[in-house]
C-alpha cells in the first residue's frame, strides 16, 4: 500500500496504482490520472467511469462485455476510449480495484 497525491489530494493506492478506498475518488483525479495514459477525458469516458463505479459499489463483477452491454458504448468503442487495456485502465481511473475475475 502507498500514498499518492492526485489532483492535490493524498489518496491510498496499491502497488499497481489502484485506489484501495473508492470513496477518496473525485472526477478531477480521473482527469489527472488519464493524462498519464495520454487520454483526454470526454463525457463518454465519464459515463463509462460512472457506470463502473455504480456497478462496483453494487457488488457486481465487471467484465468488458458487461460494459459493452451497458448501452453507453460498444466493446470496440471501449477499446478506443481506453486503448491498451479498456477495463484495467478505466477501472483505475474510476478509483475502484483492479477487476479481478472471480474464477
Amino acid at each position: 500500500m502507498a500514498e499518492k497525491v492526485i489532483a492535490g489530494k493524498t489518496v491510498q493506492v496499491n502497488d499497481e496504482g489502484y485506489f484501495t478506498d473508492p470513496s477518496q475518488w473525485t472526477k478531477e483525479m480521473a482527469a489527472e490520472m488519464a493524462k498519464e495514459y495520454g487520454i483526454e477525458l470526454t463525457d463518454k469516458h465519464y459515463q463509462v467511469i460512472d457506470f463502473l463505479r455504480e456497478r462496483y459499489l453494487a457488488g457486481e463483477a465487471l467484465t468488458i462485455r458487461r460494459v459493452g452491454n451497458s448501452g453507453i458504448v460498444d466493446i470496440k468503442g471501449l477499446y478506443q476510449l481506453f486503448p491498451g487495456g479498456p477495463l484495467k485502465i478505466s477501472s483505475k481511473l474510476a478509483g475502484i480495484p483492479k477487476p479481478a475475475s472471480c474464477v
Partner: protein, 412 residues
C-alpha cells in the same frame, strides 16, 4: 400439501432432490424436479473423450437413476418463472405452483454469440469440448490430424470449470507426443485474462507448467470474431492469431428461461446472496450451481459444497428459523497436467489457491498446487464417487467450508 419445485436435474438439482426428500415428510411436502433432458452427463469426463481416454458410455447415465423415490420428475422445457404468483410455466402449457423454488438450470455455451464461430468451420476445424457432440467430433478430428497450429481459446469469463482449458492443452501435449507428432504441433493458449489463471499464486504455477511444456500463453486477448476465410482469431484491438485447429470455450450464459422470466443479469445469471444462496430479490427462491451469479467457480465442487449450505438454509426457512448457514465460496478442482499427473487447488471467496496438503494437514494424500501422480488418481477415482456418492447427496469426508489447515500462505 406444500410444494418444492427444483428447476434443473443436473449435479446441483439432483443433490438437492436427494437431500430434501430424505429430510422432509412425504405427507407434508411434494418435491418436483423439472429438466428438459433425460440423460445425466458426467461433465468432467468430456475432457478425456477427445483423447480416447473415456468413451461416450463412461460419461452418460439416465437421470432417473439418481432421483430418489417420492420425487416427481417432469421432463419438459421451461417457459418461465412468474415469481409474483409463485408459479412456473412449462413449455407444454402445464403450470406448477410452489412454496419454495430452487433454480439449478446451470450455464451453457453460446457459440452463436461470437461472429464467425458457428460458421463454416464449426465442428470441422473448430470444436468445443463442453458438449458430448463437440467432444466426440473433436475425437474424430484428432484421429487423423497430422499437426499444425493448435489454438485453445477462451471467449470470456465466467465459464464452466475454469481449469479445463489448461487441462486440455496439457492432455493434448501428451497426446501429440505419444503419437510422435509433437514437433509438428504448435500449441497456443489464448485468454482474455492477464495470465493462465485468475488468481496470482496458481497463475504463477500454471504459467510455469505451460512454459515447461512449450505451450505459449497469449494473454489479454479479447475475441471479437473468427475469420473463417483466413482461419484467424481476431481481437477487439485488431490483433490476429492464426489456427489450423481451434478448440474454444464459447461465451457461457445461463438459461434463456431466466431472461424470459426477467430475473437475470445480462448473462442470464440470477442475482444471488453469496452466503445464504437465496435469490436477492425473492424470499422463497433459492439458486444453486452455475445458474447463480455468486463470485466463485462455476464447477461441480461448488454445487456440491453449496448444497450442504442451501439444505440447511431451506430447512431453516421452512421451519421459520433464521438462516444461519453461510457459504464461503469453497471450490476444489483437480487439474490434469498430462503423463499421469495432476495438480489440485482448493480455495474460497477470500483465500486464493495456495500450496499445501489435502484433505489432511501435513499428510495429504493430495498435494495442493503440486504436480503429482496421486492427484491424477484422485481425479480418476472421482468419477466413481460422483455417480455413487455425490449425486445421491451422501456425505464425503470433505467439509463444505474451506479450511486453512494444511495450506501455506505465500507471497507472489
Amino acid at each position: 400439501m406444500k410444494k418444492i419445485v427444483i428447476l434443473g436435474g443436473g449435479t446441483a438439482g439432483t443433490i438437492m432432490a436427494n437431500k430434501l426428500r430424505k429430510a422432509l415428510d412425504r405427507e407434508e411436502w411434494s418435491i418436483t424436479v423439472v429438466d428438459k433432458h433425460n440423460n445425466h452427463y458426467y461433465q468432467p469426463g468430456f475432457l478425456f473423450i477427445p483423447f480416447e481416454i473415456y468413451t461416450r458410455n463412461d460419461v452418460i447415465k439416465p437421470k432417473s437413476d439418481f432421483f430418489p423415490p417420492g420425487v416427481n420428475v417432469i421432463y419438459s422445457a421451461i417457459d418461465k418463472i412468474v415469481p409474483a404468483e409463485n408459479k412456473v410455466l412449462l413449455s407444454d402449457g402445464k403450470i406448477l405452483g410452489y412454496d419454495y423454488l430452487i433454480i439449478a438450470t446451470g450455464t451453457d455455451i453460446r457459440p452463436d454469440e461470437t461472429p464467425g464461430l458457428k460458421g463454416r468451420l464449426w465442428q470441422k476445424d473448430i470444436f468445443d469440448f463442453y458438449t458430448i457432440e463437440g467432444a466426440l467430433a473433436l475425437q474424430r478430428f484428432l484421429k487423423t490430424w497430422q499437426g499444425g497450429k493448435m489454438v485453445m481459446a477462451i471467449v470470456d469469463m465466467p465459464f464452466k470449470c475454469p481449469v479445463a482449458p489448461i487441462e486440455f492443452v496439457c492432455l493434448a501435449e501428451e497426446f501429440f507426443t505419444r503419437k510422435g507428432i509433437r514437433d509438428k504441433v504448435e500449441i497456443r493458449f489464448v485468454t482474455p485474462l492477464p495470465g493462465a489463471f485468475t488468481k496470482p499464486v496458481a497463475t504463477k504455477m500454471l504459467n510455469e507448467l505451460l512454459t515447461e511444456k512449450n505451450i505459449q500463453v497469449i494473454p489479454d486477448f479479447y475475441i471479437e470474431r473468427i475469420d473463417n476465410e483466413k482461419k484467424t482469431l481476431v481481437s477487439y484491438d485488431e490483433r490476429e492469431v492464426p489456427f489450423d485447429l481451434l478448440t474454444i470455450v464459447p461465451l457461457n450464459k445461463g438459461d434463456d428461461m431466466i431472461a424470459r422470466s426477467g430475473i437475470g443479469d445480462d448473462l442470464n445469471y440470477v442475482p444471488t446472496d453469496k452466503h445464504t444462496l437465496r435469490a436477492r430479490d425473492f424470499e422463497n427462491i433459492f439458486v444453486i450451481g452455475d445458474a447463480s451469479d455468486i463470485p466463485t467457480s462455476k464447477a461441480g465442487s461448488v454445487a456440491h459444497f453449496s448444497a450442504e449450505i442451501l439444505f440447511e438454509n431451506i430447512m431453516s426457512a421452512i421451519e421459520n428459523r433464521p438462516m444461519t448457514a453461510s457459504f464461503d465460496g469453497h471450490s476444489n478442482c483437480y487439474i490434469e497436467t498430462g503423463y499421469g499427473k495432476g495438480a489440485l487447488i482448493d480455495f474460497n471467496y477470500d483465500t486464493e489457491p495456495l500450496p499445501g496438503t489435502f484433505p489432511l494437514p501435513g499428510i495429504g494424500p493430495f498435494g495442493l498446487l503440486k504436480n503429482t501422480k496421486i492427484n491424477h488418481y484422485g481425479k480418476i477415482m472421482f468419477r466413481w464417487i460422483y455417480w455413487h456418492i455425490l449425486l445421491k447427496g451422501r456425505a464425503l469426508p470433505i467439509e463444505a467450508e474451506m479450511t486453512m489447515a494444511g495450506k501455506k500462505k505465500i507471497e507472489v
